[in-house]
Structures are given as structure tokens and as C-alpha cells.
Homo-oligomer: 560 residues x 2
Amino acid sequence: MPPTYTIGVDFGTNSVRAVVIDTTNGSTAGTAIFNYPSGTQGVLLDPRDPHLARQNPDDYLEGLRSTVVRALAQADRVDAFSRSRVIGIGVDTTGSTPIPVDADARPLALERQFKNDLAAHAWLWKDHTAAEEAEAITALAREYAPEYLAPIGGTYSSEWWWSKIWRCLKVAPDVFEAAYSWVELADFIPATLPGVSRPEDIVRCVCAAGHKAMYAETWGGLPSKEFLFRLDPRLAALRDRLYAAAWPPGRPAGQLAASWAATFGLAEGLPIAMGGFDAHYGAVGSGIRPGTFVKIIGTSTCDCAVAPEGLGAMTTIPGICGSVPGSIMPGYIGIEAGQSAVGDLLKWWVEGICEGNEALHTKLSAEAAAMPPGASGLLALDWNNGNRTILVDPRLTGLIVGQTLHTTRAEVYRALIEATAFGARAIVERLREHGVAIDRVVCCGGIAEKNDLFMQIYADVIGQPMLIAGSPQTPALGSAIAAAVTAGAEAGGYDDWHEAQDAMTSVQERRFTPTADAVAVYDRLYALYRRLHDGFGGAAGALDYSQVMKELLSIAHDAR
Amino acid sequence: MPPTYTIGVDFGTNSVRAVVIDTTNGSTAGTAIFNYPSGTQGVLLDPRDPHLARQNPDDYLEGLRSTVVRALAQADRVDAFSRSRVIGIGVDTTGSTPIPVDADARPLALERQFKNDLAAHAWLWKDHTAAEEAEAITALAREYAPEYLAPIGGTYSSEWWWSKIWRCLKVAPDVFEAAYSWVELADFIPATLPGVSRPEDIVRCVCAAGHKAMYAETWGGLPSKEFLFRLDPRLAALRDRLYAAAWPPGRPAGQLAASWAATFGLAEGLPIAMGGFDAHYGAVGSGIRPGTFVKIIGTSTCDCAVAPEGLGAMTTIPGICGSVPGSIMPGYIGIEAGQSAVGDLLKWWVEGICEGNEALHTKLSAEAAAMPPGASGLLALDWNNGNRTILVDPRLTGLIVGQTLHTTRAEVYRALIEATAFGARAIVERLREHGVAIDRVVCCGGIAEKNDLFMQIYADVIGQPMLIAGSPQTPALGSAIAAAVTAGAEAGGYDDWHEAQDAMTSVQERRFTPTADAVAVYDRLYALYRRLHDGFGGAAGALDYSQVMKELLSIAHDAR
């Protein structure tokens, strides 16, 4: 029997990518990428406000069309492939990226009157204009509904759903009034392909709802009208036009509409998988399951784990950004953690401070790789962009200690990598302390793909082998897996997520194993890191720092 | 009546300078400089040991001859000048720079058999080969003679007299055995000019003896034979061939010998002032007196104060490198403090990390000058080269806190300057707490001469106007003042040091006055600096650091 295929479409920050995947082995039959044409690398900016980041919904639709058409055309060249063997489409996107839509589920930005109004466009995940709204939501929830904050790490973010919608209400009331409803990009695309024309009919994923919109079945869905009323009566009124239920992935978001079927040259009625966030479907495409921890390492890091549902207390692991039942895969609590600056921290050092480029990254990385762990006497906190997990405090900053007059830029470079690894270890330890098994770590993302030094340091600091996901496009692959499971075994897909993952995901032969000597040095350094972390981060009371520099010198002495 | 003149000769690390000074107003009639020809910029190095730094005594003699001859030739062109009006010569040098000499008071290095033996040369102040000897001396003194350490800050240094001589004994016993005695460079030159030919006849300055050799009248001069015996019996034996008494400046070290008089074209028998360290005579040339604090700011900083003798407890101000009766001027306790990296800290950042040059120094300085105090949110500890005062701990290291992903190299540059200013303020406060009056601060040295931003920050942090010494060569001027006082009023000089200083020293019109707004910001930052300083430096027990980053962000917010 010839294989079946699914399509995964991954909407990133600057581009969209479609892949056509062989469901029997996860291999790629076709792929295409589309760079968003609007704004700066696809992001609409406001020169007067550096916090603003929007996107043009038209880019999404054009990207969807363009990439799927071209990926299929490429797949056509594969002998075993036939368009009739395509059994479904899956979609992942950035988030929280809410879009205001009219009563026909059509983005306001596509209407002539709002074409030039940035508030009517998609509010991209990294838009930070709603900082004061986020603070007010956090403050209100702490007072009236602390349960809302428990699954999301205790602090509501300016990057999230309600902050942005409330901000829109304040700064662009005409847009807010014109919006019949709002929809996450992750739900919008899966609703577009079936041609959903009423916001009420959009199938909402619990991934966005639970992690970004304070949705939980336990309190009856979205935050109560009473709560929203205290923010603004118009938000309470909007609640009726949003959604009453959100779902784990696995059920179809709809069936492919005739018009899109014609555009793609695919069968009308194909099942469209529910959307999900790129990190979550990336975790699926990396083989996430109980015990397997997935780290997506790029400019920042997103960590995902799944744990069996029913471990009551575990849904509120202190300091973990999110624990939402069903958010990554049905049947498990989806757990999300993250570090706010990883690649960005090195970029700051190399480009911001040393004023170098990619070649300097390579040079410093080579120099740093030649140094024994601990030999520099340096130790850093990785908080130049705050701490997302486990302190959940954006108002923390960086720290480097141990400098001498001979400290080199390569030594600092290495210390910054180590700092992010210590931050990663703090997350792993916090999860384990709360009963989340982690016995296998799979990494993906740009840094995992390219930076061997980085990965070796992670293996040595965390004391666990670092595996690298087999696919360089794990989110798109995860979407294709979701499509295969949504289609089901009867259609040539899978009924079981793990069965699909076993067939469609892999890890590279390139892997990084802890070395005993380095592990021992890093255990000493990590003890000091935790001391700084807990003291400066406010997780401990008064601490004695008098031996920190001495202990760093001893470690350096022993290492040299 | 035409003016009288004195000659000041300043032996620095890389060169020697002579000045011919008008004793009526301190103006310079002639000057000449001589770069030591040996080694690397005058320093003999060992490629196998980066801690080694020696000098060729022949360079000193050649430099003495060359500079005085040329400075006088230049003075000859001044109308009022006549060689018959020269009334004395003064000398200052680096230290502790001990030289092994034979029974004729001649440096061993000048003898053929030791010409190529680095151990037989002058052990330059910054030679750090004797680290283990220094530690052993400190340990022994703590156990058997803690009084020896009280006036020198509690720790004996590898840069000092006994550490170096003991080191020589260990690594070059033949040199040690051949040395009849040892002499500080500061005493060697003033003994050379009169042609002293027996080590017993060398007049030793209490400046070197008290600050570097644990000499004090209270315990009978140099450390006891019993003490030295515990280090090594041969050191105890050497004690008999060193000196029983050391003196404050003011008395002559001898009279100019006929041969030197002929070389210089000066009168035989001219009084030669006792030698002193460059920092101490630099303080004299900057107008030091009770209440006037002198800061010599260069790669590192040396601070000097004088206080009336008899303030008993004050001779042992905790954490102050040295308090020695008569070491700077007779009748006062000479107090010396210092910071181990000031210019060097900026050099590390600009040249070591940013890989820039003088032009980048200028650029960063200009950018940093445009920033309001506190606006960067950064705070640093200035300990990249340890802390000399007030923690007296070479095993402390640097720290920078408050970095974001937007932190610039110019912001760090400014934070490092501020860190050294906070360190300077800690010294001022420590002295004041122990009754040393400081109501006027005069700065000299390369940074004081050239860096306005630096000096303004010091004024704002210390909350005191920063005056700049009128002479760019305060050590040589101070030596000339010492010569004028040694010659005495009857010879056309002075009987009183302050009278000489009033006539011969000045401050520039360029001065830096504290600005109220900046003072207020720096008071907030200094409170945080002290928290880090005391906690990491071990001067306090456990401290709460949870608000450090928050407070820095608040200060930055208020500053912007």
C-alpha cells in the first residue's frame, strides 16, 4: 500500500512554512516557505512605540495559499506521492496572537476602513503595548480570583489575550466596537480552511485558551463576567461573543472547503486538525510524552512536558508558566516553561557589546569550547530579559561575577551559555520536585541544530544526555502528526498520538552525553548559581555571599 | 634677590624624570625624561613567569645622570636661573623595589657574575613572584606578632620587602648569599649621589621601612630576629646588615659627591634630601596637609592623608593599607590607601573586552557623559584586581549587575567608572569614621589630568569638589619641595613644609563641583554598592539582595 500524507503548516513570526509529510515515516515529500510581505520582516511596527508588533492577516492567507500550493507541487515529484493520498491538514502558529474579527469571522483588517489601523490587525505574540493592562489584570486576579493565576505561573503577561484586547478597547475603541469577536491565529487558520463564517462556529483550542486566556473547565471556561466587569464592562459583554468551550487537539476543526480544495488541488472535505501553538506542536514533532522533556532553544527557550492528568496539585507547579489539561496532547496535562533570553543573551554579548557578527559568534564559540568548565572563574545570571520560569519576574536583570583584569570576551560568552544552562536546570529540578518525570531530553530549534558547545554544556549542567530532534521543522511536523491523528487510522492515519509519534518522529545520531568531570564542576557552580538565583530573585531571605568569589576562584584553580 | 632652585628626580616604572624647580613659586625651569633602555619599557620580564618584574640598576644610574644633566641644560636658558642658585636635590621612586647590594653598597647586578641573573636585579614594586612568601609572612604574623600587621592593613603583600627578599633566598640562594645588604630604590639613589660606600651609612626612609618592611619604633625597628628566624634563619642573620633606624623626610641623606657634582656642573656638598615613594612625594607636591586628601589616579589609585601624630588608635584604621608616623611628612602620621584597579578597569573593558583603543576610550567616554547618573540601571564592584582598601583582599573579583538585552558598552564603561568612585567613597568614609579630617580633595595622575567625566563622577559620588593639582609632575615637584626643606631657609629654601607647599604647589582652575541631583542619585546607588560590597566582601553576614535589581530599575526609571 502506498503511504498516506498529511500537510503541516507552521505560521512563524516572519514567515509561514508548509510541509507535506509521509505519515508512515515522517519524511518530507514537499516543503515551501513564504516570507510575510508586510512591514519589517512581516511585522508591522510603530516608530513611536517600540513595544508595538502587529501582523497583516492578509499575509497569513496569502502565505497559506502560497506555501501549500508549492509544497504540494514539490511533492508531486515524489513517486509514491499522490494528492489523493493526502488525508488531512494541520496548523500551528505563534501565540497569543489575537485577531479582531467581524460577525462573519473575517479579520477587521481586511475591511477597507480598518486597512491602515494597526489596532485592527493581528496583535503579534511579542507585542508589549499592554504592559499596564497585564499588571492590572494580575493585580485584580490576585485579589479576586487567585485560582485564575495558579495554572499560568502567577502573573498575567502583556503578551497574552486579555491584556491585548483590553488595550485595544482603551486605545482604539472604534476597533473594539467593530469587532464582533476575537480569535487566536491558532484557531483562525483552522477555521479559515473549512470556510467557517460565524465566530460561534470556530473550534477553539485549549492550548491558547488555557495558557493565555485564563480558561479552565474548573471555573466554567473563560474568566467570569464579574471578573471581566471589574476590568471594563465592555470586556464582560464581549465574553458572550467569545467561546464557552475549548478543546484539546484531536478533534477536527472542520472540513476543507470547496474553494480551498480547488486552490490546493485536494479533495473537498478533508479533515482539518485543530490548531495549536508552534511550541506545543513542535514538542509533539519532537516526540514529547511522559518522561520526555522537549526544549525548543532559540532566541528564547520554550520547554514542554506532559504529565498524566489527575496529578491534582501538579496543575499548579509554582513558577511554571503554564499547566493546562489537554493543551499539548489529549489525556495529559500540558506543561510549559521557558527562559526569556537564551540565544538573545549571546546575541547581546556578541552583537551588542562586542559589536561583532556571526563570524565572531563562531570565533568566541571555538575559544569557549577550548576552556575547561569552571576555569574562567565567572558565573552569570541569565536574566537580561527577566525571568519567565521559575521566578516569573520580568523585573529581574543580568549579573556577572568573577571578572578579573584578564577576563576575556570568550570567557564571558561561555559563562552566559552556562547561565542559561543553569536556568534550564532550575526548571528541570522544579518539575521533578513536583512529580513530573524527566528521563529523556529532546532539543530542537536553531541553537540545538547548530551549536555543539551549547548542547554539550547543557548535557553537563543538567546531567542528562541531550538528544536532538530528527526534523529541523518540528512544529510543522507536529501539525502534520496532529492531522494524521485527526484523520484517524481508518483514513490511513493514526488513532493514537504516540503511535503516530513513533512512526513520524526521530532523533538525530548527533547527541551530547554528560562527562563526569564536567558534571562535577557544574554541580559546584550550580550551587553558587542557586545562591545568587534565590537571593537576587527573592526566592530566599538573607543569604551569605562572602564565599561566592572565593569559591569561584577555587573552582577555577581546580579546573586549570 | 634672584630665586633659588631645587632639583626633583622621579623614578617611575618605565622612565625617570628630572625637574628643576623655582622654590619661590614652584615653576619649572627645566625638565628631562629618560626611558629605561632595558627589557620591555624598562621592565625585565620572564616569559615563563608572568609574575616576574625586575629592573636593571644601571638604568637608574644612567637615567639619573642623563635627566639631571639635560634638565639643567634646559634651565640654563631661563634668565633668572644660575647653577649656583641650586640648593639641593630630592628623589622619589617606586616601591617597594628592593635591590641586593654588596658590602660597598653597590648593586649586585652591576657585577659581571650577576649581570644576567634576574634575581640580582631590582625587584620592581609590581613583581608578584613572592605570593606564597607573603601568605606565609601574613600567617606567621597573625599568629606570633599581630601588631606587625596593624599599621599595614592586616595583610602582608607579595609586592613588599620581606616577601621579595625571602623569595630571592629560596629561588636564588647564591644571590642572597652574595648580597651583603638590601636597599630600597628610594634609599639607594639618595645614597648614590653622596657616594655612600657602606650599606650601614645609607639613610633609610621610614616611608619604605614603615609601609613595606614592618618597621616601627614601638617594637624596636624591623621585625624581631625571633620572628625572622621562624621564616628562615638566614633572614634573621640578614637583619643585622639592614638598618636599626629609619627616618621621616627632612634630614639630608648626604651631600653631593664630587664626581656627581662634576657631572652635573653643580656645587659639591649640596644637600641631598632623603628619598620617598613617588605617591608620598606626589602627595606633598599636591599640597597634602591635615584635611587635604590627595588622590593619585592612574591605572590604580593611591590615596594619601596626613593626621596629627598622637591620635593613638588611628594608627591602625582597619582596612587601611598603611598608617606610619612620619612617612609622608615629619610630625604627622602618613596614611596610605588605594584601589587596585581604576584606569586598569576601564582599560580591561575598552581594550580587553571591546578590543578598542584610545579612540574607543574617547567615544565611550563621550557617550557615557551624555547619560544621566543612574539611568543605565547598572551597578558594578571595582574588584577585578582584588580590593586593596578597605577589605584588603586580593581574592575578590569583579561583579556587574543590572544588565538588560539593551545594555551598551558605554553604559558598562560608565558603571565601571562609578564603581571606582564608590570604592573611593568607601575609603573616604572609613578615614572619616576614624577621625581623619577630609575637607579638601586634590587629585593628580593621568586620569585626573585627562578625564573630565571621571572627575565629575567622583565629585558627585564623594559629594566633595575635586581639585586638580597644578603640577602635572607632582612626585618630582614633591621631591623638589623635600630638597628645599632639607636645604633650609638659611640656604634660600624653607624650614617649614607647609610654607614650602604654599609657595611651590597650586591647584588648577579646572575643578569639578558636585551637582545636587547627581549626588542624590549616587547616594541611592552607593547604598546598593555598600550592600554588595559588604556582602560579597565578607564585611557583613547574611544580607537580603532581593530588592537590588528592583531598586536599580527604580533608580533608572527615575533618572530617565
